[in-house]
Amino acid sequence: MALLTRQLLNRGRCPIPNDNKKIWGIGGFRENLYINVERREKEDHRKLILPLTQWKQQVMQTCSATCENDQIGIFVAAGDDIEPLLPFLSVIPLLALDFPVFDDGRSYSKAVQLRTCHFYLGELRAVGDILIDQVSNMIRCGFDTLEVTHSLTQVRLAAHSGEFFTGFYQSGAKLVRSGQRRVWYTFG
């Protein structure tokens, strides 16, 4: 997170305090059922989010990803490869894909790959530097939830009608092509 703050500072924007995070999905804000590993205190019984590298070590040690792991979500940095996750997708409840800065687009492609080529059915969460103007792209790429820190974006999302699909040329990751329309068309 220090990195994120630094990047925000470098871009001449006020860093927004990180404890002001809110989880948003179509339908509105919701409770965060997960906590990042470094923030969990003793009493906290929420589910964990582990960084991919740490999760890998754990899988290596226990030679299994099944037992308690349906309680463990994974943080996938923008530069991480999703390859090691593929055999375990059916038991991973949440993948948090990172947007270290809003114009780093790698996690969009990963989301689409996870949804359309690897049939991931768990929760896909966008985390990092998320502004209102990226929200529609994220939803269309198959994200379920967004972790929003930017306060104006929170305000705008709260006031939002939920109307993100005024019509696009591409079918979204979760939208199936409908009979007679051109292949790259989808109405929301």
């Binding site: 687009g105 080529c117 529609s136 269309r140 019509g167 040329y169 979204g172 051109r182 292949v183 790259w184």
Partner: protein, 561 residues
């Protein structure tokens, strides 16, 4: 040409509304310039030396009279009375005010035009052959496929934050008039042994500080897999293209650093996965292509078999007209018609610039003589694609009266030039004044004709918007110790035998560069086999040495540096 359907209209209107809101938020201070930047760029708005600049797309270079009149109107009402046509089939307005831009975009939307994705790190305007649909050497019209790619790439949710800009060019003819091998992806339509249509894919071309000629990635991708393969390439690029250094972020660097073979394998794996995916069906059906075709109204050309005789006798009578036909008129696939190129390279003028009055005149000509259609070329000229031979003289006379009849297509004064230091915040040197001096220097009657076919390109900095790398003669503005210098390259070419020019040696000062160009021309004239050997052929035969010798008094490369 393509007409918007209801969906297209609604789509563009929604984008205008969205951007108007963003401009409002910016003006209200709700967005910082940093946050606004990628949003305005997505809508073609740059911040330049003196003002904002708006770049409007002319998809695959085709526009109607009505659209051209709208561009004239915008130049007149929101700018200083002119616009600049670029090598990528866009038009740039240099002086709009930010508050006016939503209004301009809404005026553009009225005539089915937009500025979406004309800048920013996304898939840019899809360019094509400016003779598409009318060229005598065409296999099939590439524009329906260009339109499909335009739609597919518009606000693509996955590809809106690429490592860097991404450019497609597509052709359907034997002759490459769209510089496809200088694009991130170049597409050529062709037929396989059993006559089916498909695409050759070239990848990794580009200019800038690391110029590269695109390599053939796949000889034949069937039409139905166009979007699968394009998606596979752009996805691999989005995932693995470098984001740590903007000068190394284009796909050409990924090709170079990953290795061509490895990258091809990665793309093929993704391609296979995409073809398998039922959840994300990108198969391009014949019905889809026909749906698009139906929105392209290709005119039914009337026969005018007597036009040829009329033309022959008029050419005999009027020598200037004869010369103009020779240089600016190209064979049409219909025998009674011709393709007219209107030069935007008046001697001493600004390459690619047109005034509002000129735009209106050209729009009138298109309406009257060219089935309402116009084109914008890679060479920054305008094209009337459907002129009956019998009407050529009438068209010519209107052009003469409007100072648009320069008979110089393919000649040394048909210069490609970027705006340079006069407008651009990134420039090292002026390009416009050099272009003006060169065209004036060679304007003596008979001189250009004697030199023959040649392409001279000028960029004001290493970003190479003036395509200097691809000029037979290229001029690049550089800055050394606070002074403007001009570096020369020779042997570049954008067409079928695409190549990157080689640097001659040390640069020249502003008051020396035109003489240096003339030295090159004299050397060529003295060494060519005969009038039939164009500059580029002669250069390929004799190489750099004689030119270097003439410029620097030494043929040694290091000594010339």
């Amino acid at each position: 040409m393509y007409r918007y359907d209801e969906f297209d209209k609604a789509f563009v209107a929604a984008r205008v509304a969205e951007f108007s809101d963003q401009v409002k938020r910016r003006l209200a201070g709700e967005l910082t310039e940093d946050e606004f930047r990628p949003l305005r760029l997505r809508n073609g708005v740059y911040l330049q030396l003196h003002a904002y600049m708006l770049r409007v797309a002319i998809p695959y270079g085709t526009l109607s009279s009505r659209q051209m009149r709208k561009l004239a109107h915008i130049a007149r009402c929101y700018d200083r009375g002119y616009g600049h046509f670029t090598t990528r089939q866009n038009i740039q307005f240099n002086w709009p005010r930010l508050v006016d831009i939503p209004e301009i975009l809404s005026e553009l939307a009225d005539v089915e035009m937009h500025a979406i994705q004309t800048s920013g790190n996304c898939i840019r305007n899809i360019t094509s052959d400016h003779f598409a649909g009318v060229a005598a050497d065409e296999i099939t019209d590439p524009r329906p496929y260009a339109e499909i790619l335009r739609q597919w790439s518009s606000l693509h949710p996955e590809f809106s934050y690429l490592p860097r800009k991404f450019k497609f060019a597509i052709i359907g003819a034997q002759t490459d008039r769209a510089a496809i091998q200088l694009h991130d992806i170049g597409l050529r339509l062709n037929r396989n042994a059993v006559g089916e249509l498909g695409f050759s894919f070239y990848i990794g071309g580009g200019q800038g500080r690391t110029p590269m000629v695109a390599k053939l990635l796949h000889e034949f991708i069937p039409v139905e897999n166009l979007l699968h393969y394009a998606t596979a390439i752009v996805r691999i690029y989005n995932l693995y293209g470098r984001r740590d250094n903007k000068y190394k972020a284009r796909i050409k660097i990924l090709v170079h650093e990953t290795g061509f073979g490895q990258l091809r394998e990665d793309i093929d794996v993704e391609f296979a996965a995409l073809k398998r995916s039922e959840r994300y069906d990108l198969t391009l059906l014949q019905a889809d292509i026909e749906a698009i075709n139906a929105y392209f109204c290709t005119p039914d050309l009337e026969n005018h078999p007597n036009g040829r005789d009329t033309l022959v006798s008029l050419r005999l009578k009027d020598q200037a007209f004869d010369c103009w036909v020779d240089k600016n008129v190209t064979r049409h696939k219909h025998p009674d018609y011709a393709i007219v190129t209107i030069s935007l390279k008046a001697i001493g003028g600004i390459p690619g610039n047109a005034t509002a009055a000129q735009m209106d005149i050209v729009a009138d000509l298109a309406e009257r003589y060219s089935y309402n259609e116009l084109r914008v070329s890679y060479h920054q000229n305008l094209v009337l694609p459907y002129v009956a031979l019998q009407d050529l003289y009438a068209v010519y006379n209107v052009l003469v009266a409007s100072s648009l009849a320069s008979a110089n297509i393919g000649q040394i004064s048909d210069i490609i030039a970027c705006p340079g230091l006069d407008y651009c915040s990134l420039a090292n040197a002026r390009s416009i004044s050099i272009a003006q001096q060169i065209s004036t220097r060679f304007s003596r009657p008979g001189y250009q004709e004697k030199i023959g076919e040649i392409q001279l390109n000028i960029s004001g900095c290493i970003n190479a918007c003036g395509h200097h790398h691809a000029g037979h003669i290229g001029i690049l503005g550089v800055e050394k110790k606070g002074t403007e210098l001009y570096q020369l390259t020779l042997g570049g070419s954008a067409g079928n035998r695409c190549s990157i020019g080689e640097i001659t040696g040390h640069g020249f000062a502003a008051d020396e560069i035109v003489d240096a160009v003339e030295t090159i021309i004299h050397t060529y004239l003295s060494l060519r086999i005969d009038h039939g050997e164009p500059f580029i052929d002669a250069y390929r035969r004799i190489g750099m040495m004689p030119f270097r010798q003439a410029l620097y008094g030494t043929a040694d490369k290091t000594a010339a540096e």
